[in-house]
């Protein structure tokens, strides 16, 4: 009885999200699309944080996904949105599978640093190969087509939103299942005590490697979705400050739930935009103060408010 009732809020939420394009302003819709897409990259950061692996270079995979698709547009003439997303996903997976072989041996601040170094090398490459990548001026992403749906270009924003919503939901659900799988539990156990996990006869490195690749693939998809929405990509996607933003949002949302990155991501986009609006000259100070407040008064991230509300309203 209780089970079927608990399903209703989710159903309502889902309906609300799906019908959002008919209600919300274009700007809010765009913001939600970008925030939802970035939440996928943040989800990867959260996944790794569950294993106590902090990365300061996750933007590497975000940029890899975006640029794989961007170069696909430029050199292969691809315009099909699904093909571009597939390309970005494969790029995220492929690059993380390759670099993962090296970085998964490291922990703590060294893991964070090595990832940072790799991301900055990619940043340098994107900057250097000016004739291929457009350097800091970046690459344009013309409006994609979604052959199957065949909707008009006028509804592109709504399409991109729905695409991000459905694809994002699917990937979030799969990640949620991964968290609940044996490998997911291993990652969580590593957080408490890695050596004990190793004693249990479980290959820690295999679990970390798997987690790393998943996080890479998620970031790749995030990159292409943001690229498609924004319409333009620059090497800043790989810059360390972008990686810092992902960690920022992960902590803002909290690592307790797969939903937390979405909440954190949306909140961050709004806070950042309003900080710009309220104090264009000192928005960094506003952001910094907001972050301090969260660290001291909401240590579990914004998501902990949801938990609080739940316990208050009873079972």
């Amino acid at each position: 009885m209780g089970g079927s009732l608990r399903f209703i809020p989710f159903l309502l939420l889902g309906l609300a999200l799906i019908t959002a394009p008919f209600v919300l302003s274009g700007w809010v819709l765009f913001l939600l699309t970008v925030a939802g897409a970035k939440a996928l990259a943040v989800l990867g950061v959260v996944l790794l944080l569950r294993a106590k692996l902090l990365t300061f270079g996750h933007a590497l995979y975000y940029a890899a996904g975006a640029y794989a698709a961007g170069l696909g547009v430029k050199y292969l003439g691809l315009h099909n949105g699904f093909a571009l997303i597939g390309l970005a996903f494969v790029a995220g997976l492929g690059v993380s599978a390759l670099l993962g072989l090296l970085v998964i041996r490291y922990r703590g601040v060294y893991f964070a640093l090595l990832n940072l170094a790799f991301s900055m090398v990619l940043y340098g490459i994107l900057l250097k190969f000016y004739s291929v990548t457009g350097g800091t001026d970046g690459l344009a992403f013309p409006a994609p087509t979604f052959g199957l749906i065949g909707l008009s270009e006028a509804s592109l924003r709504a399409q991109l939103y729905e695409l991000t919503l459905f694809l994002g939901s699917l990937l979030f659900y799969l990640t949620y299942r991964f968290f609940a799988s044996p490998a997911g539990y291993v990652l969580f156990a590593i957080r408490d005590n890695e050596v004990r996990v190793a004693y249990m006869g479980i290959s820690v490195n295999a679990a970390v490697y798997l987690g790393y690749i998943i996080a890479g693939g998620l970031a790749g998809v995030a990159g292409v979705l943001v690229g498609l929405s924004v319409g333009h990509i620059t090497p800043d996607l790989a810059f360390w400050s972008q990686s810092g933003e992902f960690v920022f949002v992960a902590i803002l949302g909290g690592v307790g739930s797969v939903f937390a990155p979405v909440v954190g991501s949306i909140l961050f986009e709004f806070v950042r935009n309003y900080a710009f609006e309220l104090s264009p000259y000192t928005w960094q100070m506003t952001l910094g103060a907001a972050l301090l407040l969260i660290i001291f008064f909401l240590p579990g991230g914004v998501w902990s408010l949801v938990g609080l509300a739940r316990t208050r309203s009873g079972p």
Partner: protein, 431 residues
Amino acid sequence: MNRYRKVLAGLLAAAGLSLFVATAKADPPAGAPASLKIAVVAFLSGPASGPFGIPARNAADVWIEKINREGGIGGIKVIPVFTDEAGPADKVVTEFRRLALEEKVAAVVGYISSANCLAVAPVADELKELTVFGDCGTARVFEEGKHAYVFRTNAHTVIDSLGAARYLLAMKPDVKTIAGINQDYAWGRDSWEIFQRSMRQLKPGVQVVDVLWPKIFAGDYSTEISKLLVEKPDVVFTSFWGSDLVTFSRQAKARGLVEQSIVLVNNTGSDIKDIPATVLIGSRGPGPIAPPDVEKDPLHQEFIQLYKAKYGLAPNNYIAHGAYHFTQALQGLKVAYESAIKKAGRWPTTEEVAAALAYSTFDSPAGIIQMAIGNGHQAIEPAPFAVIKQDPAIGAHVFTEIRSFPAACVNPPDGMKSLDWIDRGFPGAKC
């Protein structure tokens, strides 16, 4: 307290004046909005804020005040919405959408970074938002795409480096070796490419002895200067700007590079007092390095006075072309709106304003601006260059050997891509 009172007094005066002007003037055209919101986007933080962003923002501020004092645009008061351009492309585009969709601004003026102009242009078309780029350089905006709602009322970057090549040959016709030092990012690459190709056309046989690519904002250029001192090129070309230019040129001066080689800067945004004497320097458009006849230009004089009165500095001495460019954008908008109103006999649509701005010609503090190329969406401007000299009489730096290359000399004709035009030997150039 004092400052607060001043601001208040200014506000009251402005309000009173505009009230007076508004009542004195004829009724606004039919369908006119109560006010005209215009977004002004410029770097308010980061390294580009000092040389470009803040002067540009301040210039827009005083110029909008002036426009409002004189009755606004088409009798309608302009309300500026200032925002920071800093941040990655996704933030810049999100902010642009907020300005267009939430703030519902009538037009967006601004953008200093080329990357941001490239990112914003398609979005402006999508949202049918009239957008006038204020300062960015890349020629790609209108050479790679057509943008119905996007304009640039300043010249693109070709005039910087082609102008530098022409000025160099005017000052030192027998140049044999050149070296380049440019920041390792897109605009640094563009600048070197245009300069190098122009030199190849204008004086074949000039040898490039070295090309250095320090990281942007690297801060210290000692190593690069050592290498240039060892190589002894006739000319060192650089597209440094802001603090990088100040540091590089002062280190170059301290170490004798400025005496050994000609140091040629294609386009700068720095205080003239911070650049050593004998450095050759250019500016995108004739605002900061003004030819003598432009000095008599009443709009130019008015701009300098307004800016000085409110912000204490002269925008021309502080070589801030961003400041001039933002007034050009506002002038362009004003003239386009007013001619569209005249034509339509009522408040015009965005499309009508855009049509009026295309291929238009209007006056600005930096002289007459012609929207001559890029389907009438891209302005051309002359390219002024000068040598910085210490003037013992006034104890300050001044520009000497000022030379301005006419717009038709340093801009490609309408419909031709810049690099093709250079490689084909500047067909149609009138110098």
